[in-house]
Structures are given as structure tokens and as C-alpha cells.
Symmetry: C2
Subunit: 314 residues, 2 copies
């Protein structure tokens, strides 16, 4: 069963209480733990050897990836990460240097973002290593930006460049922590998500959460990464660069919507604060439910999410 | 490398910040997230198929165990659990009914203790299922009970009965949530830990955290479980019941110390509130570092923790 299907079937089972502001279903949960000025964000995520990294990957990069994925989720709510706990599940006999390398990566990235690591369990996982991180964050009360606030006519913006992350960037990407925190302070962002499954999939998640809206994306406005363009030239089995930008996973960029009338203001503010991180306006929200791709030749349906798996790519 | 060794080597690496009241090293971390009346507890723990449960275990009991282990850690700080997130890592092809069973167990136990489940990720873990739970709790400011507060002369108390958990109780034990919360309100408890590795090991953890103290335990006062006694009669390869009570893991009872002059008051208060949960005074804290076992024949050293592993038991 697909992850989203399972989560949707299980969601009605999940118990709630008075601490819950927003439960499962967004990038993070939002809790009210009694701080009169802030809400708490809560997220967990795991990376698995052979699935999210190869056995020969640099353990420091593995540690970085394990926590940076969660940092990206906190950023995707407009929050700031505060404290993490880690479970390292290791095959018997895995050498201590590997674990220490993972921890060095975890600690360096946590320290860079002023995040404390306050617990580190280890357990056994025969076959392959697994690193599970749970992360807390902080956001001003009622300023968390959900996936579900997009409105018809909104401009759709995306940070950075898309596609080809598998060539290496998935291990050393920079989570958009400062950018997410800044977006929340503007008060102008209607809906926000981070790109983990690829633009085609995550845009659909945002639109579905916003009541089943649609979108029109301009192909020529998509910020296709250099590596996706290079990989597209590798032969007749290579994935076209546009398709890679739309469907490759693990970009960990921010995708968000603002009123069309605020788009220029947001882009100007972004470029002033984050001059080295690209920001692109790639389309607009429509009444839906169609998600379409427009170029000079006309309008097409957006390719399905996860299309790359059917081509046997990773 | 042994878990405790690894954690001790890594602890100095872990970044901290102003949110941290007590970082890694106790049953939970203690955080100050801005609530003027309370601190936040934070814990993560994982159970792995073939390590913490067998493939034929009832999935609802597996879900119960996954969250109850964390609930026991919150209780062992004197706190109340508030919200959990869950990562379910599954081998490809694991049927949906199994995952739903695990979630039913997680949700039932969470609901019983008024805990919200606010996030549920799934990922792939080839070979065996792994369930990672991260749990938040709440404790009145500066009332969290650490492992490190034991004093020479303290009485040592333990809840419930010890030993033989592997026969089934490890899958359906009742975490001592109400008892832990009540202990914190008394203001009389000096040090508190939950028994996950067995009394001999966890008592040593508490004494080491309290500055290298020792203890004298009275064999005849130990609350040995009926199942440990039954298993001891199974033949000449069976583990003696006293050894089982001292070294079997996964009892998930509370072990704590109070001033000797408060011991009777605490035991009376406990029995009034929790008439079905046994409480035993099993010995006293000494200047140490020896941890000794006293019976009518004299004084012996406490057997080492994890002794059972050398006999090939699970």
C-alpha cells in the first residue's frame, strides 16, 4: 500500500487531545504546549541504508541528510528548529567509526542551525543501518504556514533549482531554514510545502490539502538544475531535464503560494535577504482539479508523480 | 561497542542551546519551551522485529510495546505524556493488516493515557519491521526527577514484580504513568529510573549518575514475579528466580530512592492510591561503589547486568 493511502486510512484512528493545534497530515504537527507566544512543531523522519543512502556513502553526509530532512519540514511550516532526538539502528558488527561519522554529520548540521541534540538511542537493525530523527521547532502562535491555505489566483513560487538530486545533492542539500522562518514573518504566504517527492507530487499534495484546487505551471519558468540538464544528455535512456525537474525526489526546496499581488514583493524581499538562493514564480493556482503544464506549444497534463520509478530509475 | 560506551563517547559532541535544561543521559531530555509553569520531556525509542518482538507477535501488542516503552521513560522523569509521532519502517510486501494492527495497538495505548498521535511516517526497512516512537511529556517546572539525585542512606524502592518478562509481559506491560506522575507531586523522590535492562544494570546506572554511590539490596525483599519462579523450575538449565529478578530486562517498573525517613510515608501513600501495584523497599544506598546483595548467609556482590546473555538466553 502506498504511504499516503496508509496514512489516510489510519488518520481517523489517531487520538487527539487539547495540546493539538494541527495533527498528522502536514509537514509537521502543530502543538500548543503552553508558551503564551509560540506554538511547537513536531516531526519525525527516518533514512534507511539502501533506500535513502548507499552503503558507501560518507557517514557524515548520511548524518547530515538524516537531520536536514527534518529541518526542511520545520522550515516548510515557517518555523525554527529547537531540539532533536536520534535513534541509530545498526546491523551487528557495524564499526564504531561509522556511527561516530554519522553523529559528526548530525551534530555539525544541528549546530549550524542552533539545534540541540538531546537524546541518542542505539538499537540493532539486522541487514542495514537506519537513522530516525525526531525534531521540535518553534513558530509564533498561529503563524505556522500549512499546506492547505492556497487560493485560486495565487502565484506559485519555488526556491532553488529542481531535479537530479540523486547525483549527490540529496546527501548535502541545504535545508531552507532561514528562508522558511522569514516567509512566516511576512504574513503573506498562503500555503507552503517542502519538495521531498518531486514538484509534480508535492504540488498536488498542496492543492489537494487546499480543497482540491488546480494549477497551471509554465515549463519555461521552471528552475531546472544544471545536473538535471547534464544527466539528460547522457543518452537515449536519460530522463529529459524538464521531466526530472518535475518528478525527481529529494529536492528539499520550498514550494509556496502567495496572492498574485504580493508575488513581486515577496520575490524582491527574498532576493535581498537570500541573494544566493534562487526564487522563481512558476505558475498560478486555478479552480482545479487539473494540474497543467503550459509552454509555447500549448497546455498538457502535468506528468504523474513518481513517474521516474516506472523507468527503473532510483 | 556497547550502547552506553557509544553514547558516552558521543555525548560531548552533542550541540546544546538555551532550550535545554537536561540533555542526553537520563530517561528523557528536559526542555524549557517557554511554558511558564512546565518543562517539556522528550524521548525516542525503537522496537525491531526479531530483537524486541518475534515475527509472529500480535501486531496490536507490538504497537502497544512501541509506545509503552516511551511512556515508561516519561513516567521515569515524573512526567505526563502529551504527544507522539511514529515512524513505521516496513519490509516491502508487509501486508496492510499488519500495519493497521500496529496502529490499533499504538492508538489504544495512547488514548488510554490521553496522549495524542500527531504524525505517522512510513518508510522501507528490508528484512524486518521497525517502529520508532518519539514522545513528548510535561512536568511541572523543576519537578522532573533525574537519575542523579540519590543520597547515601536513601531507601531504595521498586514497583511491581521483577523477572521473566520475556515470557509475555514485555509485550503487554502496563507503563507506570500514574505512579510516576504521583511520585513527582510528592516532592520526596531523590532519584528515579525505569527498569529496561534489569535491576542489576539499571540500579548501577542510577548509582553511577548519582556520583558513584553503592547499594545494599536485601534478597528476601525483592518482589520476584510468579513467572520467574515458575520458569526457574523448568529444569537444570533454568535461570534461578532471584537471578531472573535481578538481571532480566524489560520489566518497565520504577526504581527510585527517598530519604529513609520518608520511605514509610511514600509506601503508605502508594498503597492507598495504587492498591493493585505492589511497592517494595528492597535496600539502601551506601557510600559505594560496591553494589551488594545481602541475605541470611551474608553479603555477596550483585551479579553483573546482562549476565543472562552469557547463558544464551534472550
Amino acid at each position: 500500500m502506498h504511504e499516503f493511502e496508509l496514512i489516510n486510512r489510519l488518520k481517523p484512528l489517531l487520538p487527539a487531545n487539547d495540546f493539538v493545534v494541527h495533527g498528522a497530515g502536514d509537514d509537521c504537527a502543530v502543538l500548543d504546549l503552553g508558551d503564551p507566544t509560540a506554538h511547537t512543531l513536531f516531526k519525525t523522519d527516518a533514512v534507511v541504508e539502501g533506500v535513502h543512502f548507499t552503503p558507501d556513502a560518507d557517514p557524515e553526509q548520511v548524518g547530515h541528510k538524516a537531520i536536514a530532512r527534518c529541518l526542511s519540514d520545520i522550515a516548510a511550516m515557517g518555523g525554527r528548529a529547537t531540539a532533536a532526538v536520534v535513534t541509530l539502528a545498526l546491523p551487528p558488527g557495524r564499526d564504531a567509526a561509522w556511527s561516530e561519522g554519522v553523529y559528526r554529520g548530525l551534530c555539525r548540521t544541528a549546530a549550524l542551525h542552533q539545534v540541540a541534540i538531546v537524546g541518542g538511542e542505539t538499537t540493532t537493525n539486522p541487514g542495514q543501518a537506519l537513522i530516525s530523527v525526531a525534531l521540535l521547532g518553534r513558530v509564533a502562535r498561529n503563524q505556522a504556514i500549512l499546506r492547505s491555505g492556497a487560493r485560486v489566483g495565487d502565484a506559485i513560487l519555488v526556491s532553488g533549482e529542481l531535479g537530479g538530486s540523486i547525483a549527490g545533492r540529496h546527501l548535502n542539500f541545504e535545508p531552507r531554514c532561514d528562508q522558511g522562518g522569514w516567509l512566516a514573518t511576512t504574513g503573506l504566504v498562503h500555503a507552503l510545502i517542502d519538495l521531498s517527492d518531486g514538484l509534480a507530487g508535492d504540488l498536488r499534495h498542496l492543492l489537494a490539502a487546499s480543497g482540491g484546487l488546480g494549477a497551471e505551471i509554465h515549463s519555461t519558468a521552471l528552475p531546472i538544475s544544471r545536473i538535471a540538464r547534464l544527466r539528460a544528455r547522457e543518452g537515449d535512456l536519460a530522463k529529459p531535464a524538464l521531466l526530472a525537474a518535475l518528478t525527481d525526489g529529494e529536492d528539499f526546496e520550498l514550494l509556496f503560494t502567495v496572492a498574485a499581488s504580493d508575488a513581486v514583493r515577496i520575490m524582491d524581499g527574498w532576493r535581498e535577504r537570500f541573494p544566493t538562493t534562487r526564487i522563481s514564480c512558476i505558475g498560478r493556482v486555478t479552480p482545479g482539479p487539473n494540474v497543467q503544464l503550459r509552454d509555447k506549444t500549448g497546455i498538457r497534463q502535468m506528468p504523474p508523480a513518481g513517474y521516474e520509478h516506472f523507468r527503473g530509475e532510483s
